[in-house]
Structure formats: C-alpha cells, structure tokens
C-alpha cells in the first residue's frame, strides 16, 4: 500500500466515511511517515480553522443580511420588486406614455374596422359578398372552401330569429 492510498484512507477517516477500515495499521504508519503525518495534520488544522472561520462569517451574516427579505405586500403580488429589473415592464411607466399607447391602439382599431367596411361595400356584383350585402336580415356565415390552386368562396345566411 502506497502513501497515497494511506492518505486517501486518512481523508475518509476524517469524514467518518471509512467504513470498516483497519485503523491500527494506519496509525502505525503515521508514526513512521512524516509525509502522511503532515497530510493528516493539515486536515486537522484546516478543520479546526474552518470551524472558527465559519463562526466569524456567521457574525458577518447577521450584520449584512436582513432578517427578513423585503417582499411585496398584498395577495397575489408574488413578483418581488427586485424582479422588475429583468422585465420589459416598468411600474413607473409615465401616464402620458400609457395614454399615447392607448390612443394608438384605438386609432389602429378604427382604421382596421373602416378598412373591412370599405372592403364589403366595394364587393363586385355577383360575388357572394355582394349577394350577402343585398340580404337585409340574418347573420352571415362565411364558409371558405380551399381547393388548390383556386380558392372558392361561398356565402350563406341564417334568418334572424322571429323572421
């Protein structure tokens, strides 16, 4: 067994993970081998110093860390304030910007609606749209039947209730 093997055993022994390791021979070797003795001594010194160091860090923790994390108040407010940093949204979005955005959406909606109305009004005679336009009552249902390479459009209407 080499010194490296013995040092591995010492490492396991330090962690009480050595299982049924034969320890007597190991300690006899330590008496004779300065290299392994230094290794074992290093582990013991490090452990002792690490425990002291940990106590010091724990004192720092009490000074540096808040006892409670600041979380947003109110039910459903699960997204903490710090998380806004990574979001496109900002809670402080200025009111004028929000109003302008709403206005833009309104204008866009009107434009789209007007475009659709104009399209229906311009439908040529004989097309299903024109036929539907001439029918004063009923809710139109469009059935688009796709057959490559042409697209055939047909229209039907359902009579309104009571008529």
């Amino acid at each position: 067994m080499t010194c490296e093997d013995r040092q591995l055993q010492l490492s396991l022994l330090m962690d009480a993970e050595s299982g049924g390791l034969e320890q007597a021979g190991l300690f006899t070797h330590l008496e004779d081998c300065a290299e392994c003795r230094h290794f074992f001594d290093s582990l013991i010194r490090f452990r002792s110093t690490a425990r002291q160091d940990r106590e010091e860090i724990l004192r720092q923790a009490d000074e540096l860390l808040p006892a409670r994390l600041p979380l947003p108040a109110g039910p459903g407010a699960r997204r903490p304030l710090g998380a806004w940093r990574s979001s496109w949204w900002r809670p402080g979005l200025p009111a004028p910007a929000a109003i302008a955005l709403a206005g833009l959406l309104l204008v866009a909606g009107i434009a789209i609606g007007a475009g659709l109305a104009a399209r229906l009004g311009r439908a040529p005679q004989g097309t299903p749209d024109a036929e539907l336009a001439r029918q004063p009552r009923g809710v139109p249902i469009y059935v688009y039947v796709c057959s490559m390479p042409q697209i055939e459009v047909t229209g039907k209407s359902i009579p309104a209730a009571g008529n």
């Binding site: 110093t49 940990r54 979380l71």
Partner: protein
C-alpha cells in the same frame, strides 16, 4: 417544527410566511458557502438575496422536493459558478477580494488569525471544483451523499475530489506548518 419540505409545499401554495421561515433558516448557511466560494461577503450577501428572490419569483416552478437544503445549495452553487465564470471572463479575481474580517473575538490569537488568513488564501487559490467540495464538507458538514446531490457528481467522484483538494491543501499549508513547527 415544520420540516423544510412542508414549508416548501406551503410556499408553493401561496404561504409567504413559509417562505420567510425558509429564508430565516438558510440565509446564514448559504451566506457562509457564498463567502468561501466567492471570497467576498458583499458578493455572498447578493448571492443569498438573489437566490431567495429568484425562488420567490418562480414559486410556480418550484419542484416537489425531498431535500430542500440540497436543492437550495444546488441553486446557490450554480449561481456561484456562473459568477466565478463571469469574473474570470472580466479578468477580475473575486475570490479573496474582501478585506480581512475582524478576528477580535475572545479566543482570537495571533496564531489563529494567521491560520485563518492562510486558510482563506489557500481556499481562494484552489480550483472551484475542489473548493466547493471542501467548503461543503468542512463548513457545512455535509455527507458525501449530500455533496454528490448538490454538485451533480457521484459519491466516488466527491470522495476523489475531496482527497485531491486535501492534497492540494496540504501542499499549500506545508511551508506555514513547517515554519510553525510540528504540533
């Protein structure tokens, strides 16, 4: 006392009190891990807060956990490695960046102060994969199995890494220990 896993379940169901209890329970151990991994109390403080805020923010994605502590340290450890990679990319050595902490406690002696400084420097100079197993073992007193769960390695790998880390440690401490004489 409610177990960590019960608290995690309660938090997933919307109990902020359970989250606060978990934070109170683990902020200090995670801070200790962060200080020795990142070498800076400030960075470790950020690590603790970012980790817990991240968990709070993603409570819906919180998995059902058999071992909350292990899972928390996995999250913290991954953040540490990301930060270390970023520091490396920026050419900044974060580890060991803090000024020396106070060692003016009642038991502090010149010898223990020097040893403490030496241990910090030795850890800072280690490879991150060696440092993490050593910190998890010596500062958190975790078993090989728990360390394996956190690092995503097998127990045999943990055993081997810990041994290599300790060999490196012994090599780095040798001059100081020889100067100080045999105990």
């Amino acid at each position: 006392m409610r177990s960590d896993e019960e608290l995690a379940d309660a938090f997933r169901s919307g109990d902020d009190g359970a989250f606060s209890t978990l934070y109170e329970r683990y902020r200090r151990p995670l801070f200790v891990f962060g200080v020795r991994m990142l070498g800076s109390a400030q960075a470790a403080g950020d690590l603790v807060q970012d980790t817990f805020l991240g968990i709070y923010e993603r409570h819906n994605e919180l998995p059902r956990l058999n071992n909350f502590r292990g899972w928390l340290f996995t999250v913290g450890r991954n953040r540490c490695l990301t930060l270390l990679r970023q520091q490396k990319t920026r050419g900044r050595l974060g580890v060991g960046a803090d000024p020396e902490p106070r060692t003016d406690g009642p038991g502090a002696t010149l010898e223990s102060e020097e040893e403490s400084r030496l241990v910090r420097r030795t850890l800072a100079e280690m490879l991150p994969e060696h440092r993490e197993v050593l910190v998890l073992r010596e500062y958190q007193e975790l078993s090989y199995r728990e360390i394996a769960g956190i690092t995503g390695a097998t127990e045999s790998t943990v055993k081997a890494r810990l041994f290599r880390a300790r060999q490196a440690l012994a090599g780095m401490l040798r001059p100081a220990l020889e100067r100080g004489g045999e105990p």
